[in-house]
C-alpha cells in the first residue's frame, strides 16, 4: 500500500518549527482585520477549521470522507434554528449544533467504517446525500430559503456578538482552540495509533489494536469539529442554507486540504484561505470557479501531491 504524501513523521526540531509556525499564524490572524475585511476572514477561519477537521481524518487516519458537508450543514441548521426559534444564547446554539454533528458522525461512522478505501468514500457520499434530501424536505430548514436572519446575540450574557470585531475575536478563539485540540490529538498516543492504522491496517490489527474503535473515534471527532465550524459559520453569516449540506461542499473541503497539503498541520488552513479568496475574487465569473477548482484538483493530483505546506516543509526539511 502506497502512502499519502506530505505525511512525514515529526523529526528533529520539527516540534519547535511547528510552535514557531503556530505563533506566526496566530500573529497574522490577530493583525489581519486591520487590513482585510473581517467577515471574509471569519468565513476563511470557519472553512479552515472545517478543513483541519477533515484533514485529521484523511491526512492522519487515511479515511477519505466525501460526505463531510453533512456535518457542516447539519450543525449550521441546528444552531441557526436554536438561536432563532428557541432563542438560545450563541454559546448554547453552537454547542447544540456541534452535538448534532457529533451524533450524526457517530451514525455515519458506524455504517461507513464497515468498508475500506474507495468504498468508504462512496458510502459517506451517499449518506450525506441522504442528509441533503432530508434538509431539502424537512420543515424546520426552510427548504430552498434556508434559515435567514439568525440573531447573533450575547455570548455568556456579556459578549456582544453584534460587534464585528468582538465576533472576530470569538471566532478566532474558537478556531485556535479547536486547532490546538487537533494538534494535541495528532501528537497523542491515539494519534500515533491512527497513523499506524493508516500506514498498515493489518499490522495494527495484529498488534492487538481494535482498529474499528480508533477509526470510529477519529471519525466522530472530525465530525464534531466540522460541526463546530458549521455552527460558528451560521452565526457569522446569520444564515444556514442548502449549500453547506450539498455534496459539492464535501468536494471543496477535499480540495482545500489537498491544495494546502494532506497530512500536514498547517496545510488545510492555507488551502482554505486560498480557496475562499479565489471564490471571493472570481465570484463574478460564475461557472469558471468550478472549472478552476477542477483544474486545481487535477494539477494537485498529477504534479503537486504534497500541497503548498507539504512542499514548503520539504524545502525547510521540517514537518509543518
Amino acid at each position: 500500500m502506497t502512502t499519502l504524501h506530505g505525511a512525514t513523521a515529526a523529526t528533529g526540531d520539527s516540534g519547535r518549527a511547528q510552535i514557531v509556525a503556530f505563533l506566526i499564524m496566530t500573529g497574522l490572524l490577530i493583525a489581519a482585520p486591520a487590513v482585510i475585511y473581517p467577515i471574509f476572514l471569519m468565513k476563511a477561519l470557519c472553512f479552515a477549521l472545517f478543513a483541519c477537521a477533515f484533514n485529521l481524518l484523511l491526512g492522519f487516519g487515511g479515511l477519505v470522507s466525501f460526505g463531510h458537508a453533512a456535518f457542516l450543514g447539519t450543525a449550521g441548521y441546528v444552531s441557526a434554528h436554536a438561536a432563532k426559534e428557541w432563542g438560545l444564547p450563541p454559546e448554547l446554539a453552537i454547542l447544540g449544533g456541534t452535538a448534532a454533528a457529533t451524533l450524526l458522525g457517530l451514525v455515519f461512522g458506524l455504517i461507513a467504517i464497515r468498508r475500506q478505501g474507495i468504498y468508504f468514500a462512496m458510502v459517506t457520499l451517499a449518506l450525506s446525500q441522504m442528509v441533503y434530501f432530508y434538509c431539502l424536505q424537512a420543515p424546520f430548514t426552510g427548504g430552498e430559503d434556508g434559515i435567514q436572519a439568525v440573531p447573533r446575540g450575547m455570548m455568556f450574557g456579556f459578549i456582544d456578538l453584534r460587534q464585528t470585531m468582538t465576533l472576530y475575536a470569538v471566532v478566532l478563539t474558537i478556531f485556535l482552540g479547536a486547532f490546538l485540540l487537533i494538534y494535541r490529538t495528532i501528537h497523542s498516543p491515539f494519534g500515533q495509533v491512527l497513523k499506524a492504522i493508516r500506514e498498515n491496517e493489518p499490522r495494527a490489527i495484529s498488534l492487538g489494536y481494535r482498529v474499528d474503535h480508533y477509526k470510529l473515534l477519529a471519525f466522530v471527532l472530525s465530525a464534531a469539529i466540522s460541526g463546530l465550524a458549521g455552527a460558528t459559520k451560521s452565526l457569522v453569516f446569520q444564515l444556514a442554507t442548502l449549500t453547506d449540506v450539498h455534496w459539492s461542499m464535501s468536494g471543496e473541503v477535499v480540495l482545500m486540504t489537498l491544495l494546502g497539503g494532506l497530512g500536514t498541520i498547517f496545510g488545510p488552513v492555507v488551502g482554505a484561505f486560498v480557496i475562499v479568496a479565489m471564490q471571493n475574487y472570481l465570484a463574478q465569473f460564475g461557472a469558471w470557479v468550478t472549472i478552476i477548482q477542477g483544474a486545481i484538483f487535477v494539477i494537485c493530483v498529477l504534479l503537486f501531491r504534497r500541497g503548498i505546506i507539504g512542499e514548503l516543509g520539504r524545502v525547510l526539511k521540517k514537518a509543518l
Partner: protein, 295 residues
Amino acid sequence: MSTIFGIPPQALFGQLLLGLINGSFYAMLSLGLAVIFGLLNIINFAHGALYMMGAFVAWFLLQHLGLGYWWALLLAPIAVGLVGMVFERAMLRHLYKLDHLYGLLLTFGLALIIEGLFRNGFGSSGQPYRIPAELQGGTNLGFMFLPNYRAWVVVASLVVCLATWFMIERTRLGAYLRAATENPALVQAFGINVPRMITLTYGFGVALAAFAGVLAAPIYQVNPLMGSNLIIVVFAVVVIGGMGSIMGSIVTGFALGIVEGLTKVFYPEASNTVIFVIMATVLLIKPAGLFGRSN
C-alpha cells in the same frame, strides 16, 4: 375502478415503468463503473459528467450536423470513449502506483471541469431533444399505456448490459480482461499488452456511460447537471451490489430502479432517499455488498 393495494393500477404501473427506466440507467452506469474499477482500481467520478457529455454529443450532432438519433447512438459513445482514452493515457496512467484516493480525486476534478465548461457554454437550463420518429407514440397494453420510446430504452439497455456480460464472461477477450483484473503482471508476462487493454477498458466503460446519455436525451432534457446527481445514486447502487460481479451490478441496477419507482407510489417522501437507506442496511448486514466478495 379497481385498485391494487389502494393504488390505481395506472399509477402503479406508470411508476414501475419509470423505475425500470431509471434502473436501466443505473445498470448501464454501474456496469461501466464496475468494469473500470475491476481493471484500473479507480472509481470513475467523471462517469456522470461523461454520461452528460454523451447526451450533449447527441444534441450537437442533431443541431449542427443534422445527424439523427440513430447516428448519435453510434457516434456519441465512440466520441466520448475516445475522450476517455485520452484522459486515461494523459492522466490516469500516472496514478496506478499511488493510493486509489488520487484516482478518485483526479476524476472528481475532471468532472468539475467538464461540467463547468458545459455550464459556461449552455447555461443550467436544458436543451430539448426530440424522440426519433420511429419511436414516437405508444402502445395500449390494456392495463396501461406504454410509450414506445420508454420500452425501447429498457430493451436497449438490457441488450447492451447482457452483451457486455457475455463479452466479459464468455469470450476470449473477456477472459484476458478477467485475468488482468486478477493479476496484471502475470498476464503481461504472457505477452498481452495490458496497458493498451487498460486504455480500451476505460474507453469502453466511458462509452457505456455516453450510450446511456444518448438514451436519456429524449427523456430528460439535455442538461449540464444531469450527470452529477445521478452519479451519487449510482455510487450507492455500486456499494449495494458490490463491484465483484458484472451480473450483480446489472441486476442491482434494475432492481433498485424498480424499488425506487415503487417507493414513489407508496411513500413518495422517501423516494429520493430509499436507495441510500437500502445501502446503509446492506452495509450493516453484508458489508461486502450483495454480490461482492469480502476483502
